[in-house]
Symmetry: C2
DNA sequence: AACAATGGTACAATATAATGAATGTAAATT
DNA sequence: AATTTACATTCATTATATTGTACCATTGTT
Protein backbone atom coordinates (compact mmCIF):
# COMPACT_ATOMS: atom_id res chain seq x y z
CA UNK A 1 0.00 0.00 0.00
CA UNK A 2 1.58 3.21 -1.20
CA UNK A 3 -0.53 6.33 -1.38
CA UNK A 4 2.33 8.75 -0.85
CA UNK A 5 2.08 9.86 -4.47
CA UNK A 6 -1.59 10.80 -4.23
CA UNK A 7 -2.76 13.04 -1.39
CA UNK A 8 -6.28 11.63 -1.43
CA UNK A 9 -6.80 11.74 2.32
CA UNK A 10 -5.72 15.37 2.58
CA UNK A 11 -7.86 16.41 -0.36
CA UNK A 12 -10.97 14.65 0.89
CA UNK A 13 -10.58 16.18 4.34
CA UNK A 14 -10.04 19.58 2.73
CA UNK A 15 -13.20 19.45 0.65
CA UNK A 16 -15.25 17.93 3.47
CA UNK A 17 -14.26 20.71 5.86
CA UNK A 18 -14.76 23.32 3.18
CA UNK A 19 -18.31 22.01 2.89
CA UNK A 20 -18.54 21.99 6.69
CA UNK A 21 -19.79 18.43 7.14
CA UNK A 22 -18.76 15.64 9.50
CA UNK A 23 -17.50 12.17 8.63
CA UNK A 24 -20.92 10.93 9.71
CA UNK A 25 -22.72 13.20 7.24
CA UNK A 26 -20.29 12.42 4.43
CA UNK A 27 -20.83 8.72 5.12
CA UNK A 28 -24.56 9.23 4.82
CA UNK A 29 -24.27 11.17 1.57
CA UNK A 30 -21.66 8.99 -0.08
CA UNK A 31 -22.67 5.53 1.02
CA UNK A 32 -19.11 4.88 2.19
CA UNK A 33 -18.76 3.85 5.83
CA UNK A 34 -17.66 6.43 8.36
CA UNK A 35 -14.80 4.24 9.51
CA UNK A 36 -13.56 3.87 5.93
CA UNK A 37 -13.68 7.63 5.47
CA UNK A 38 -11.65 8.05 8.64
CA UNK A 39 -9.04 5.57 7.45
CA UNK A 40 -8.84 7.26 4.04
CA UNK A 41 -8.37 10.70 5.58
CA UNK A 42 -5.61 9.29 7.78
CA UNK A 43 -4.01 7.75 4.66
CA UNK A 44 -4.28 4.31 6.28
CA UNK A 45 -5.83 2.67 3.25
CA UNK A 46 -5.82 2.82 -0.54
CA UNK A 47 -9.45 3.13 -1.63
CA UNK A 48 -10.89 1.71 -4.81
CA UNK A 49 -11.81 4.03 -7.63
CA UNK A 50 -15.54 3.56 -7.07
CA UNK A 51 -15.17 4.50 -3.42
CA UNK A 52 -13.37 7.73 -4.37
CA UNK A 53 -15.97 8.33 -7.05
CA UNK A 54 -18.80 8.03 -4.52
CA UNK A 55 -17.00 10.45 -2.22
CA UNK A 56 -16.36 12.92 -5.05
CA UNK A 57 -20.06 13.01 -5.89
CA UNK A 58 -21.01 13.57 -2.27
CA UNK A 59 -18.50 16.43 -2.11
CA UNK A 60 -19.68 17.91 -5.43
CA UNK A 61 -16.25 17.59 -6.93
CA UNK A 62 -14.37 15.23 -9.23
CA UNK A 63 -12.04 12.27 -8.87
CA UNK A 64 -9.35 14.39 -10.48
CA UNK A 65 -9.55 17.03 -7.77
CA UNK A 66 -9.35 14.40 -5.09
CA UNK A 67 -6.18 12.84 -6.47
CA UNK A 68 -4.43 16.04 -7.47
CA UNK A 69 -1.32 17.39 -5.79
CA UNK A 70 -1.48 21.11 -5.16
CA UNK A 71 0.89 23.81 -6.34
CA UNK A 72 1.30 27.44 -5.54
CA UNK A 73 2.82 30.28 -7.55
CA UNK A 74 2.76 34.01 -8.16
CA UNK A 75 1.88 35.65 -11.45
CA UNK A 76 3.82 34.16 -14.29
CA UNK A 77 4.29 36.32 -17.37
CA UNK A 78 5.22 35.40 -20.92
CA UNK A 79 6.18 38.45 -22.93
CA UNK A 80 5.34 38.66 -26.64
CA UNK A 81 9.06 39.33 -27.23
CA UNK A 82 9.91 36.02 -25.58
CA UNK A 83 7.00 34.05 -26.94
CA UNK A 84 7.97 31.35 -29.43
CA UNK A 85 6.64 31.96 -32.92
CA UNK A 86 5.88 29.24 -35.43
CA UNK A 87 4.64 29.36 -38.99
CA UNK A 88 2.28 27.20 -40.98
CA UNK A 89 3.81 25.13 -43.75
CA UNK A 90 3.30 27.77 -46.42
CA UNK A 91 4.06 30.63 -44.00
CA UNK A 92 0.54 31.97 -44.42
CA UNK A 93 -0.10 31.86 -40.70
CA UNK A 94 1.95 33.10 -37.77
CA UNK A 95 1.45 31.14 -34.53
CA UNK A 96 2.32 32.99 -31.33
CA UNK A 97 2.56 30.78 -28.24
CA UNK A 98 0.76 32.35 -25.29
CA UNK A 99 1.47 29.55 -22.85
CA UNK A 100 3.72 30.60 -19.96
CA UNK A 101 6.66 28.31 -19.24
CA UNK A 102 5.19 26.46 -16.29
CA UNK A 103 2.20 25.57 -18.29
CA UNK A 104 -0.44 23.07 -17.39
CA UNK A 105 0.22 19.83 -19.20
CA UNK A 106 -3.23 19.73 -20.73
CA UNK A 107 -3.66 23.32 -21.96
CA UNK A 108 -2.08 25.33 -24.77
CA UNK A 109 -2.80 28.94 -25.76
CA UNK A 110 -2.00 30.54 -29.10
CA UNK A 111 -2.64 33.71 -31.03
CA UNK A 112 -2.95 33.02 -34.74
CA UNK A 113 -2.32 35.71 -37.37
CA UNK A 114 -3.36 34.75 -40.89
CA UNK A 115 -2.38 36.46 -44.12
CA UNK A 116 -5.22 36.94 -46.67
CA UNK A 117 -6.51 33.42 -47.48
CA UNK A 118 -3.86 32.00 -45.18
CA UNK A 119 -4.38 28.57 -43.69
CA UNK A 120 -3.26 26.35 -40.82
CA UNK A 121 -3.69 22.63 -41.32
CA UNK A 122 -3.22 20.20 -38.43
CA UNK A 123 -2.99 16.47 -37.97
CA UNK A 124 -4.96 14.76 -35.19
CA UNK A 125 -3.80 15.54 -31.69
CA UNK A 126 -4.24 13.24 -28.71
CA UNK A 127 -7.53 11.38 -28.37
CA UNK A 128 -10.31 13.61 -27.04
CA UNK A 129 -8.23 16.75 -27.54
CA UNK A 130 -10.44 19.78 -28.06
CA UNK A 131 -9.89 23.25 -29.46
CA UNK A 132 -11.67 26.53 -28.85
CA UNK A 133 -11.16 29.14 -31.53
CA UNK A 134 -12.28 32.75 -31.05
CA UNK A 135 -12.02 35.14 -33.96
CA UNK A 136 -10.44 38.41 -32.93
CA UNK A 137 -10.65 39.97 -36.39
CA UNK A 138 -11.55 38.74 -39.87
CA UNK A 139 -13.68 35.97 -41.34
CA UNK A 140 -12.52 32.42 -40.73
CA UNK A 141 -13.52 28.90 -41.59
CA UNK A 142 -12.73 25.99 -39.31
CA UNK A 143 -12.95 22.35 -40.34
CA UNK A 144 -12.62 19.28 -38.13
CA UNK A 145 -13.15 15.87 -39.64
CA UNK A 146 -16.26 16.15 -41.82
CA UNK A 147 -17.59 19.19 -39.95
CA UNK A 148 -17.06 22.78 -40.97
CA UNK A 149 -18.12 26.22 -39.76
CA UNK A 150 -17.51 29.84 -40.72
CA UNK A 151 -16.83 32.36 -38.00
CA UNK A 152 -17.04 36.14 -37.79
CA UNK A 153 -15.33 38.48 -35.39
CA UNK A 154 -16.21 37.55 -31.84
CA UNK A 155 -17.51 34.08 -32.68
CA UNK A 156 -16.09 31.06 -30.89
CA UNK A 157 -15.98 27.50 -32.16
CA UNK A 158 -15.41 24.37 -30.16
CA UNK A 159 -14.43 21.15 -31.90
CA UNK A 160 -12.62 17.86 -31.48
CA UNK A 161 -8.95 18.10 -32.44
CA UNK A 162 -8.28 14.38 -32.41
CA UNK A 163 -8.93 14.26 -36.15
CA UNK A 164 -7.56 16.25 -39.12
CA UNK A 165 -8.53 19.89 -38.68
CA UNK A 166 -7.80 23.19 -40.38
CA UNK A 167 -8.34 26.90 -39.95
CA UNK A 168 -8.59 29.15 -43.02
CA UNK A 169 -8.78 32.92 -43.39
CA UNK A 170 -11.56 33.55 -45.90
CA UNK A 171 -10.93 37.29 -46.19
CA UNK A 172 -8.79 39.50 -48.43
CA UNK A 173 -7.21 41.03 -45.37
CA UNK A 174 -5.31 39.76 -42.39
CA UNK A 175 -7.24 37.77 -39.78
CA UNK A 176 -6.45 37.12 -36.12
CA UNK A 177 -7.76 34.43 -33.81
CA UNK A 178 -7.20 33.12 -30.30
CA UNK A 179 -6.80 29.35 -29.97
CA UNK A 180 -7.18 27.30 -26.79
CA UNK A 181 -6.11 23.66 -27.08
CA UNK A 182 -7.19 21.21 -24.36
CA UNK A 183 -5.72 17.77 -23.93
CA UNK A 184 -8.04 15.89 -21.55
CA UNK B 1 -19.11 -3.87 -6.88
CA UNK B 2 -20.52 -1.37 -9.32
CA UNK B 3 -18.29 0.04 -12.03
CA UNK B 4 -21.08 0.69 -14.51
CA UNK B 5 -20.69 4.43 -13.98
CA UNK B 6 -16.98 4.50 -14.83
CA UNK B 7 -15.82 2.80 -18.01
CA UNK B 8 -12.36 2.12 -16.64
CA UNK B 9 -11.92 -1.24 -18.33
CA UNK B 10 -12.89 0.10 -21.73
CA UNK B 11 -10.62 3.12 -21.40
CA UNK B 12 -7.62 1.12 -20.26
CA UNK B 13 -8.05 -1.35 -23.10
CA UNK B 14 -8.41 1.56 -25.53
CA UNK B 15 -5.22 3.27 -24.47
CA UNK B 16 -3.31 0.00 -24.24
CA UNK B 17 -4.24 -0.99 -27.77
CA UNK B 18 -3.56 2.51 -29.02
CA UNK B 19 -0.07 2.06 -27.64
CA UNK B 20 0.05 -1.40 -29.19
CA UNK B 21 1.18 -3.32 -26.12
CA UNK B 22 0.01 -6.63 -24.60
CA UNK B 23 -1.37 -7.22 -21.12
CA UNK B 24 1.97 -8.85 -20.36
CA UNK B 25 3.91 -5.73 -21.36
CA UNK B 26 1.53 -3.40 -19.53
CA UNK B 27 1.90 -5.59 -16.44
CA UNK B 28 5.67 -5.25 -16.71
CA UNK B 29 5.53 -1.48 -17.13
CA UNK B 30 2.89 -0.78 -14.48
CA UNK B 31 3.75 -3.28 -11.77
CA UNK B 32 0.13 -4.47 -11.75
CA UNK B 33 -0.35 -8.19 -12.34
CA UNK B 34 -1.42 -9.36 -15.77
CA UNK B 35 -4.37 -11.21 -14.33
CA UNK B 36 -5.55 -8.06 -12.53
CA UNK B 37 -5.29 -6.10 -15.75
CA UNK B 38 -7.37 -8.76 -17.50
CA UNK B 39 -10.04 -8.59 -14.79
CA UNK B 40 -10.11 -4.79 -14.95
CA UNK B 41 -10.47 -4.70 -18.72
CA UNK B 42 -13.35 -7.18 -18.45
CA UNK B 43 -14.91 -4.95 -15.76
CA UNK B 44 -14.81 -7.88 -13.36
CA UNK B 45 -13.26 -5.89 -10.53
CA UNK B 46 -13.16 -2.40 -9.07
CA UNK B 47 -9.50 -1.40 -8.81
CA UNK B 48 -8.02 0.80 -6.14
CA UNK B 49 -6.92 4.31 -6.98
CA UNK B 50 -3.25 3.46 -6.73
CA UNK B 51 -3.67 0.60 -9.15
CA UNK B 52 -5.34 2.90 -11.69
CA UNK B 53 -2.66 5.48 -11.05
CA UNK B 54 0.09 2.94 -11.79
CA UNK B 55 -1.66 1.95 -15.00
CA UNK B 56 -2.14 5.57 -16.05
CA UNK B 57 1.58 6.25 -15.71
CA UNK B 58 2.48 3.16 -17.71
CA UNK B 59 0.05 4.30 -20.43
CA UNK B 60 1.37 7.88 -20.37
CA UNK B 61 -2.03 9.24 -19.49
CA UNK B 62 -3.93 10.42 -16.43
CA UNK B 63 -6.37 8.94 -13.96
CA UNK B 64 -8.94 11.38 -15.27
CA UNK B 65 -8.71 10.02 -18.78
CA UNK B 66 -9.07 6.49 -17.52
CA UNK B 67 -12.26 7.20 -15.59
CA UNK B 68 -13.80 9.55 -18.13
CA UNK B 69 -16.92 8.71 -20.10
CA UNK B 70 -16.47 9.69 -23.73
CA UNK B 71 -18.47 12.20 -25.69
CA UNK B 72 -18.58 13.04 -29.35
CA UNK B 73 -19.78 16.16 -31.08
CA UNK B 74 -19.36 18.25 -34.20
CA UNK B 75 -18.23 21.84 -34.24
CA UNK B 76 -20.12 23.91 -31.75
CA UNK B 77 -20.32 27.65 -32.44
CA UNK B 78 -21.18 30.56 -30.18
CA UNK B 79 -21.86 33.69 -32.18
CA UNK B 80 -20.88 37.09 -30.82
CA UNK B 81 -24.53 38.12 -31.31
CA UNK B 82 -25.63 35.30 -29.02
CA UNK B 83 -22.81 35.58 -26.53
CA UNK B 84 -23.84 36.77 -23.07
CA UNK B 85 -22.34 40.12 -22.12
CA UNK B 86 -21.65 41.25 -18.59
CA UNK B 87 -20.27 44.46 -17.19
CA UNK B 88 -17.96 45.22 -14.31
CA UNK B 89 -19.51 46.98 -11.34
CA UNK B 90 -18.74 50.49 -12.64
CA UNK B 91 -19.42 49.49 -16.26
CA UNK B 92 -15.82 50.23 -17.19
CA UNK B 93 -15.30 46.76 -18.58
CA UNK B 94 -17.41 44.70 -20.98
CA UNK B 95 -17.15 40.94 -20.53
CA UNK B 96 -18.04 38.84 -23.56
CA UNK B 97 -18.52 35.12 -22.83
CA UNK B 98 -16.74 32.98 -25.42
CA UNK B 99 -17.72 29.66 -23.91
CA UNK B 100 -20.01 27.63 -26.17
CA UNK B 101 -23.11 26.19 -24.47
CA UNK B 102 -21.85 22.68 -24.01
CA UNK B 103 -18.82 23.94 -22.25
CA UNK B 104 -16.40 21.95 -20.24
CA UNK B 105 -17.19 22.32 -16.57
CA UNK B 106 -13.71 23.46 -15.68
CA UNK B 107 -13.02 26.01 -18.42
CA UNK B 108 -14.35 29.48 -19.15
CA UNK B 109 -13.38 31.80 -21.99
CA UNK B 110 -13.95 35.55 -22.10
CA UNK B 111 -13.05 38.58 -24.16
CA UNK B 112 -12.64 41.66 -22.00
CA UNK B 113 -13.01 45.17 -23.41
CA UNK B 114 -11.87 47.94 -21.01
CA UNK B 115 -12.64 51.62 -21.26
CA UNK B 116 -9.67 53.94 -20.53
CA UNK B 117 -8.58 53.15 -16.94
CA UNK B 118 -11.36 50.64 -16.73
CA UNK B 119 -11.11 47.84 -14.18
CA UNK B 120 -12.47 44.40 -13.41
CA UNK B 121 -12.26 43.28 -9.80
CA UNK B 122 -12.98 39.71 -8.81
CA UNK B 123 -13.45 37.79 -5.61
CA UNK B 124 -11.71 34.44 -5.13
CA UNK B 125 -13.00 31.62 -7.31
CA UNK B 126 -12.84 27.96 -6.41
CA UNK B 127 -9.66 26.68 -4.73
CA UNK B 128 -6.83 26.20 -7.20
CA UNK B 129 -8.66 28.11 -9.95
CA UNK B 130 -6.24 29.71 -12.40
CA UNK B 131 -6.51 32.41 -15.02
CA UNK B 132 -4.55 33.08 -18.19
CA UNK B 133 -4.80 36.62 -19.48
CA UNK B 134 -3.50 37.61 -22.92
CA UNK B 135 -3.48 41.27 -23.90
CA UNK B 136 -4.91 41.74 -27.37
CA UNK B 137 -4.47 45.52 -27.34
CA UNK B 138 -3.50 48.14 -24.78
CA UNK B 139 -1.50 48.22 -21.53
CA UNK B 140 -2.90 46.26 -18.61
CA UNK B 141 -2.06 45.54 -15.00
CA UNK B 142 -3.13 42.32 -13.33
CA UNK B 143 -3.08 41.76 -9.59
CA UNK B 144 -3.67 38.48 -7.73
CA UNK B 145 -3.30 38.43 -3.95
CA UNK B 146 -0.09 40.33 -3.20
CA UNK B 147 1.33 39.80 -6.69
CA UNK B 148 1.07 42.26 -9.53
CA UNK B 149 2.28 42.50 -13.14
CA UNK B 150 1.94 44.90 -16.05
CA UNK B 151 1.32 43.52 -19.51
CA UNK B 152 1.74 44.87 -23.01
CA UNK B 153 0.08 43.74 -26.22
CA UNK B 154 0.80 40.07 -26.81
CA UNK B 155 1.89 39.36 -23.26
CA UNK B 156 0.22 36.59 -21.30
CA UNK B 157 -0.05 36.27 -17.53
CA UNK B 158 -0.88 33.20 -15.54
CA UNK B 159 -2.02 33.51 -11.92
CA UNK B 160 -4.04 31.90 -9.18
CA UNK B 161 -7.64 33.08 -9.13
CA UNK B 162 -8.56 31.54 -5.80
CA UNK B 163 -7.82 34.87 -4.11
CA UNK B 164 -8.89 38.47 -4.76
CA UNK B 165 -7.73 39.50 -8.22
CA UNK B 166 -8.18 42.44 -10.54
CA UNK B 167 -7.42 43.52 -14.07
CA UNK B 168 -6.92 47.23 -14.83
CA UNK B 169 -6.47 49.12 -18.09
CA UNK B 170 -3.58 51.52 -17.54
CA UNK B 171 -3.96 53.36 -20.84
CA UNK B 172 -5.87 56.40 -22.00
CA UNK B 173 -7.49 54.35 -24.73
CA UNK B 174 -9.57 51.22 -24.88
CA UNK B 175 -7.84 47.92 -24.08
CA UNK B 176 -8.82 44.36 -25.02
CA UNK B 177 -7.77 41.09 -23.47
CA UNK B 178 -8.55 37.40 -23.74
CA UNK B 179 -9.20 35.58 -20.46
CA UNK B 180 -9.06 31.82 -19.89
CA UNK B 181 -10.34 30.64 -16.49
CA UNK B 182 -9.53 27.11 -15.35
CA UNK B 183 -11.24 25.38 -12.45
CA UNK B 184 -9.17 22.34 -11.58
C1' DA C 1 -24.06 14.51 38.25
C1' DA C 2 -26.01 11.74 34.64
C1' DC C 3 -27.23 11.35 30.15
C1' DA C 4 -27.33 12.48 25.19
C1' DA C 5 -25.28 14.18 21.07
C1' DT C 6 -21.41 15.07 18.17
C1' DG C 7 -17.30 13.79 15.87
C1' DG C 8 -13.52 10.84 15.14
C1' DT C 9 -10.74 6.40 15.80
C1' DA C 10 -9.85 1.44 16.62
C1' DC C 11 -11.04 -3.34 16.06
C1' DA C 12 -12.69 -7.81 14.41
C1' DA C 13 -15.30 -9.89 10.81
C1' DT C 14 -16.59 -9.96 6.04
C1' DA C 15 -16.01 -8.94 1.26
C1' DT C 16 -13.17 -8.29 -2.47
C1' DA C 17 -8.83 -6.64 -4.68
C1' DA C 18 -4.54 -8.53 -6.33
C1' DT C 19 -1.36 -12.10 -7.04
C1' DG C 20 1.17 -16.25 -9.12
C1' DA C 21 0.36 -20.29 -11.37
C1' DA C 22 -2.32 -22.95 -14.39
C1' DT C 23 -5.12 -23.14 -18.43
C1' DG C 24 -6.83 -22.10 -23.12
C1' DT C 25 -6.32 -20.51 -27.94
C1' DA C 26 -4.03 -19.25 -32.05
C1' DA C 27 -0.02 -18.52 -34.68
C1' DA C 28 4.76 -19.38 -35.61
C1' DT C 29 8.71 -22.40 -35.57
C1' DT C 30 11.15 -26.70 -35.66
C1' DA D 1 3.07 -33.30 -36.64
C1' DA D 2 5.01 -31.70 -32.47
C1' DT D 3 6.71 -27.99 -30.04
C1' DT D 4 7.25 -23.21 -28.85
C1' DT D 5 5.73 -18.56 -28.45
C1' DA D 6 2.45 -14.92 -27.79
C1' DC D 7 -1.62 -13.36 -25.76
C1' DA D 8 -5.52 -13.55 -22.81
C1' DT D 9 -8.39 -15.80 -19.21
C1' DT D 10 -9.35 -18.56 -15.08
C1' DC D 11 -8.50 -20.26 -10.50
C1' DA D 12 -7.07 -20.76 -5.70
C1' DT D 13 -4.62 -18.30 -2.34
C1' DT D 14 -3.05 -14.19 -0.08
C1' DA D 15 -3.47 -9.42 1.03
C1' DT D 16 -6.18 -5.65 2.04
C1' DA D 17 -10.38 -2.77 1.41
C1' DT D 18 -14.72 -2.11 3.71
C1' DT D 19 -18.05 -2.65 7.06
C1' DG D 20 -20.60 -2.48 11.62
C1' DT D 21 -19.71 -2.04 16.23
C1' DA D 22 -17.37 -0.52 20.16
C1' DC D 23 -14.66 2.92 22.16
C1' DC D 24 -12.95 7.62 23.23
C1' DA D 25 -13.17 12.61 24.00
C1' DT D 26 -15.67 16.74 24.04
C1' DT D 27 -19.66 19.48 24.34
C1' DG D 28 -24.43 20.34 25.36
C1' DT D 29 -28.76 19.30 27.84
C1' DT D 30 -31.55 17.77 31.59
Amino acid sequence: MDTSHLPIGKNIMHYRKKKGISLDELARRSGVSKSMLSQIEQEKTNPTVITVWKISRALDTTIEELVETGTDSPIEVLRRSEAPVFYSEDNSCEIYVNSPIHMMDNLELYTLVFKPHGALNSKPHYPKAEEFLTVISGHIQVTAGEFSATLNEGDTARYRADRDHSIVNLSETEATAYLVVIFP
